[in-house]
């Protein structure tokens, strides 16, 4: 090919072979475009210049810790959003997996208890996915119902918070590797592996394609249902993991935790340019969206903005961010 047409499409490899995989999974609008990177850089710069506590080690560690839950949930959410679905149940799964893990710690080895927490998330994801794929039910309502049911189950499991005595329970949430919290590393690993999954494996590509045009994928002989189930299962797994990590970090598992977490996760994906209609979204840019949200919260706190005004400003800043994102998209 002449290469005449300037390349508008996502290239996962450069012409000469493979290079860094680009974590763009559909459409070109969603590349973590220069402007978006600039935006995040600008946020960081402003923060560093105006809040003298911003660049302190404590605060940076805070930032790294605070992005873990939203990060994990956002990756799972992205996978579901790519199929054209949505998963509202993640906040409840966080609560359930956390409380179950904490409850089991007294009787089981900690890693096993934690595995059970993650598996519970996988289980809920499977059920969500199966209902959505097998019976063609609207993802919004299925996962909304799941939100209610799973929250109820978390309370049924234990109405009161559970605080395991074994200090080993806190390790996952508080251990650091050098200056970086282990939980942050786990989250980053999810993004990296997840990025490769979505860009370089057949099931990952199928998930992206399903959101673009499920009928076409079906006609291509790919089992759409199974991939939809897979997507919700991944989201459930991420939420289960997030619940375990959060419980370990707080040291106490509460059945009431995680209310409205799904909203931040969805916001991160969309700030990163994902389309809720499916088929378009980027792993990198979603990570950028997570950064934006965490930075906003952190900054508002550092500036000592009062809670209500924080809310007012947070909404306005999100609008500003997506306006910038959009201008950049239109210009390109």
């Amino acid at each position: 090919m002449t290469g005449q047409l300037t390349e508008p499409a996502p290239t996962t490899t450069d012409p000469r072979g493979r290079r860094v995989p680009r974590l763009v999974v559909g459409g070109r609008d969603v590349t973590m475009a220069a402007a978006f990177v600039t935006l995040i850089a600008a946020l960081v710069l402003v923060a560093a210049l105006t809040a003298d506590t911003f660049l302190t080690p404590t605060n940076i560690t805070n930032l790294l810790k605070q992005m873990v839950t939203t990060g994990l949930l956002s990756f799972g959410m992205l996978v579901v959003i790519l199929t054209g679905g949505i998963d509202l149940s993640v906040g409840s799964i966080v609560a359930f997996s956390g409380i179950v893990t904490a409850g089991l710690v007294s009787g089981l080895p900690i890693p096993v208890a934690m595995a059970v927490g993650v598996v519970s998330g996988i289980g809920f994801g499977l059920v969500n996915g199966a209902l959505i794929a097998r019976f063609e039910l609207a993802p919004f309502v299925v996962t909304l119902a799941a939100l209610t049911t799973i929250r109820g189950l978390a309370f049924v499991y234990s109405e009161v918070p559970i605080a395991p005595e074994d200090p080993g329970f806190f390790t996952l949430g508080s251990a650091t590797l050098g200056p970086v919290p282990v939980s942050t590393l786990i989250m980053l690993a999810v993004f990296l592996v997840g990025g490769v999954f979505l860009t370089r494996t057949p099931p990952g590509r199928s998930i992206v394609a399903i959101g673009g045009n499920a009928e076409t994928v079906r006609l291509a002989g790919i089992n759409v249902r199974r991939h939809v189930v897979l997507a919700y299962t991944i989201s459930g797994a991420c939420a289960g993991l997030a619940g375990v990590v959060l419980a370990s970090r707080v040291g106490i598992a509460q059945p009431s935790v995680g209310v409205a977490f799904e909203l931040d996760a969805i916001a991160a994906c969309v700030i990163g340019g994902a389309s809720l209609a499916g088929g378009r979204g980027s792993v990198r840019a979603t990570f950028g969206g997570v950064l934006v949200l965490v930075l906003i919260n952190n900054l508002l706190n550092l500036y000592g903005v009062q809670s209500f005004w924080q809310q007012v400003l947070k909404g306005l800043i999100i609008i500003a961010v997506i306006l910038v994102q959009r201008t950049n998209r239109v210009r390109s």
């Binding site: 506590t53 404590t58 918070p161 106490i252 935790v257 706190n301 550092l302 903005v305 809670s307 209500f308």
Partner: protein
């Protein structure tokens, strides 16, 4: 909590109108917090202890309108009295009016409503709890220092405000003490306490103490402090007497004090009160339940493995 503060009215004598068997409705604003579910359980447990009392409990899931309709539902089931565990609610005129119209008695537990007519209220003196914490902290910090305050929020609640005001009223006048109010709320939960504390640690590295409007937030704050390696530098004061907090105090951690606000006690008293009223007894309108200060010295005595809170 076997040891009730005061007037544990002997409700089983209440047989004024019948054989002493009553149905009592409980309208919880929310059960989504250990304190509130503890309260709900305490009411049920006390009823069971008494026998002949049926309790119908409802949960409004934090929705004031739902609370009103739950009360309506209870009334349409013809309960004899209603207990409202109003949580962060300040008032519920529609619910109170409906109960009044139905001619039933209503007992408020924990939260006293700012408006509307009720038959009786049982709850803590939140400002006193705050002052008590303030006194304690000022003693522990003879050389002064920075004290952080973590609020539960949202601010449409008076008890948090009362507790914080209590702390402030004592500490503000103390020389050498500076108060830092966290800008964001901890939402009464451990996870919220944790993140708010983390932010505080980043903005104010020289904190000497932290006061949270309840124990759940303190427990999260304690983790953040531990993670930051400042456990021997910052002391913690809370409110409620939540089981985990009692344990932390007893274990000799940096969690030093809490003010008892026992849901078990208040719940039980609330049910007793309702039964007394149904039995035709003349009762005190407002009953303040004392809130003793709990420290390492006396914490063991407040631990109650069978309690719900």
């Amino acid at each position: 909590a076997g040891l009730a503060g005061c007037s544990s009215g002997s409700g089983d004598t209440a047989t004024a109108g019948g054989d002493g068997s009553y149905t009592i409705g409980v309208a919880n604003f929310t059960l989504g917090g250990p304190y509130f579910s503890g309260m709900d359980k305490a009411i049920a447990a006390e009823a069971k202890k008494k026998g002949k009392i049926e309790v119908i409990s409802t949960d409004a899931n934090g929705d004031a309108a739902k609370l009103a309709s739950n009360v309506e539902d209870l009334l349409s089931k013809n309960v004899d009295a209603v207990i409202i565990s109003g949580g962060p609610l300040e008032s519920a005129p529609a619910a109170l009016n409906a109960i009044k119209t139905a001619g039933k008695p209503v007992v408020l537990v924990d939260r006293k409503f700012q408006t509307g007519e009720y038959t009786s209220w049982i709850g803590p003196d939140n400002e006193a709890i705050g002052r008590q914490n303030g006194e304690f902290l000022s003693q522990k910090l003879p050389d002064g220092g920075k004290v952080a305050i973590i609020k539960g929020g949202p601010a449409d609640n008076s008890i948090g405000l009362a507790r914080t005001n209590g702390v402030k009223s004592v500490l503000q006048s103390k020389a050498g003490i500076t108060l830092v109010e966290a800008p964001d709320f901890g939402n009464w939960g451990s996870d919220g306490g944790l993140t708010v504390m983390e932010s505080l640690l980043a903005t104010d590295s020289d904190l000497k103490a932290v006061f949270c409007e309840n124990d759940a937030m303190c427990l999260g704050a304690q983790r953040a402090i531990a993670d930051a390696g400042k456990a021997d530098q910052i002391i913690i004061a809370g409110v409620d007497g939540q089981a985990e907090a009692l344990k932390a105090i007893l274990d000799g951690t940096n969690y030093l004090v809490t003010g008892l606000n026992d849901a078990d006690v208040i719940g039980a008293m609330g049910l007793d009160r309702a039964v007394e009223i149904l039995g035709g007894a003349q009762v005190e309108k407002d009953t303040v339940v004392p809130s003793p200060m709990i420290t390492k010295e006396n914490a063991a005595k407040y631990q109650n493995p069978d309690g719900s809170f």
